[in-house]
C-alpha cells in the first residue's frame, strides 16, 4: 500500500509540498507579527507569491502562444493552455486575497489603484482566452486564434499599466495606507519569508502546469485515437 503511494508520488509534488511546509513554518511561526497591520500582514506572504504565479502564467501563455504561431508545434499550444488555466486560478486567488487584505488595512475591498486595475483587466483577458477555447470548435484553427489572444494580452499589458497609472494619478485611490509591500517594521525578515513562500508557490505552479499539460496531452491522444479508429473502421469494412 505504502509502496503504491510512493510509486505514484510525483517528485515535483514532494518538492513543492516540502517547500510549502517550510514556507508555512516561516509565515506562521518564525516571522514576528508586523506592528502596523497586525496579523493580516501575513496575508501578503500568500498574496505576493500567488500574484507572482499569475504573472508567470501570463508570461508563459504569451511566450508559448508566440512560439505556437511561429513553429506551429502542438507542444506550445499545450503549454499555453495549461499555464493560462493555472494562471487564471492563481489570478483569482490573487484578487481575492488582495481584497481580503485591503479590507482591514485600507478599509475598502477595492480601489482604483493601478496595479489592482491592471491585474483585474488581465484576469478578464485570460478568462476570455479560456472561454474562447471552450466555445470554438477544436482543431488547428482554434489553436491559432487562441494563440493570437494570448499574444494580444501580452501586448496590451504595458498599455493597460500605463493607462491605469495615469488614471489613478487623476483619481487618487480612496485610501492610501501602509500599502507598499516593503513598508513594514520587519525589514529583512519579510524578505526572507516572501522569498521562501515565492519559491514554494513557484513549484506549486510548475506542478499544476505540468499536470494540466498532461491532461491536454491525453486529450490530444484521444482525438488522435478517434481519428485513427474511424480509419480502421473504414478499411476494416473493405
Amino acid at each position: 500500500m505504502i509502496n503504491k503511494v510512493l510509486n505514484r508520488l510525483d517528485p515535483l509534488l514532494i518538492l513543492s509540498a516540502a517547500l510549502m511546509g517550510v514556507a508555512l513554518y516561516l509565515i506562521f511561526i518564525w516571522v514576528p507579527t508586523e506592528t502596523n497591520q497586525g496579523a493580516v500582514q501575513r496575508i501578503l506572504y500568500f498574496h505576493v507569491p500567488v500574484a507572482w504565479g499569475s504573472m508567470m502564467g501570463i508570461l508563459v501563455v504569451s511566450g508559448s502562444s508566440f512560439m505556437y504561431l511561429w513553429k506551429k508545434n502542438e507542444k506550445w499550444d499545450r503549454l499555453a493552455v495549461a499555464s493560462a488555466e493555472v494562471g487564471v486560478v492563481f489570478g483569482g486567488i490573487m484578487l481575492l486575497s488582495g481584497m481580503i487584505w485591503a479590507r482591514p488595512v485600507w478599509a475598502v475591498w477595492w480601489t482604483g489603484e493601478a496595479k489592482l486595475t491592471t491585474a483585474l483587466i488581465l484576469f478578464f483577458i485570460y478568462v476570455a482566452y479560456l472561454m474562447f477555447r471552450a466555445y470554438f470548435p477544436p482543431g488547428a484553427h482554434r489553436q491559432r486564434l487562441a494563440a493570437i489572444i494570448g499574444v494580444t494580452g501580452a501586448i496590451d499589458t504595458p498599455i493597460i499599466y500605463f493607462a491605469t497609472n495615469l488614471w489613478s494619478q487623476a483619481h487618487p485611490p480612496l485610501v492610501t495606507g501602509p500599502a507598499a509591500d516593503a513598508d513594514s517594521t520587519l525589514g529583512s525578515d519579510l524578505g526572507i519569508v516572501l522569498l521562501a513562500s515565492t519559491i514554494a508557490f513557484t513549484f506549486l505552479f510548475i506542478f499544476l502546469v505540468q499536470n494540466r499539460y498532461k491532461i491536454r496531452k491525453s486529450e490530444d491522444d484521444l482525438v488522435e485515437l478517434k481519428r485513427a479508429s474511424s480509419t480502421s473502421v473504414m478499411t476494416g469494412a473493405n
Partner: protein
Amino acid sequence: MMGSFAVIWEIGRKDLLLEIRNKDVVVAIAGFALLVLVIFTFAIDLNQSNAKLVGPGVLWAGIAFAGVTGLNRAFALEVEGNTLEALMLAPMSRDLIYLGKALGNFLFIAVAQIIVIPVFAVLFNLVVFRWEMLVISLLTTIGFSAVGTLFAAMSVRVRAREVMLPLLFLPVVIPLLMAAVESTSHIVNGRSWSDISQWLQLAVAFDVTFVVVFAFIFQHILED
C-alpha cells in the same frame, strides 16, 4: 504600394456602399448608443456637476457597447454570403483585407458618432464641440475598429459570438476607453490641450500598436 491603398480603399468603399443600401450597422450603433444616453438621463440626476462627472463615461461606455454590437453585425454580413472567402481568393496580402474591413468599421463608428455626440451634448448640457474632441474621437474610433475588426473576425465562427466578442473586445480596449473618458472630461471642464496630451499620446500608442500588430497577425485568422 499604391495598389495596396487602392484595395484597402475599395474594400472600405464597398462596405460603405452596402451600408448605404442596408443601413444595418450605423443605425444599430447609433440607436444603441443613443438609448444608453437617454436611459442615463433618467437614471442619474443630471445637474451640471453630475453631468460633467459622469457624462464622458456614459458617452464612451455607450459607444463602446454599441460599437461591439455593430462590429458583430458588420462582420456577420461579410461571412453570411461567404464573401470573406472571395476576398481571400484575391491575390493580395491578407493584411489588406484586415485594413479594408477596419476602414469600413471605422467609417461606421465615425458616422454613428456624428449622430451620437451632438445628442450627448444636448442631453447632458455639455460643451463638447472643440477641435480636441475631434482628435479624441478620431483616435478612439481608430482603436475600436482596429481591435474590433480582428476580434469580430475571430468570434464570427464561435457558437456564442454575441457573447464572445464583447468578452474579448472590452478588456483589451479599456486603456483606450480610459483615455477617451479622461480627455473628454477634461474638455467638458474647459481644460486645455496640455492636460489631455498624455492621454492622447496613450491613445496614439494604442492605435499604432494594435493596427500594426493586428494587420501582421490577421493572416493566421482567416484560413480554417
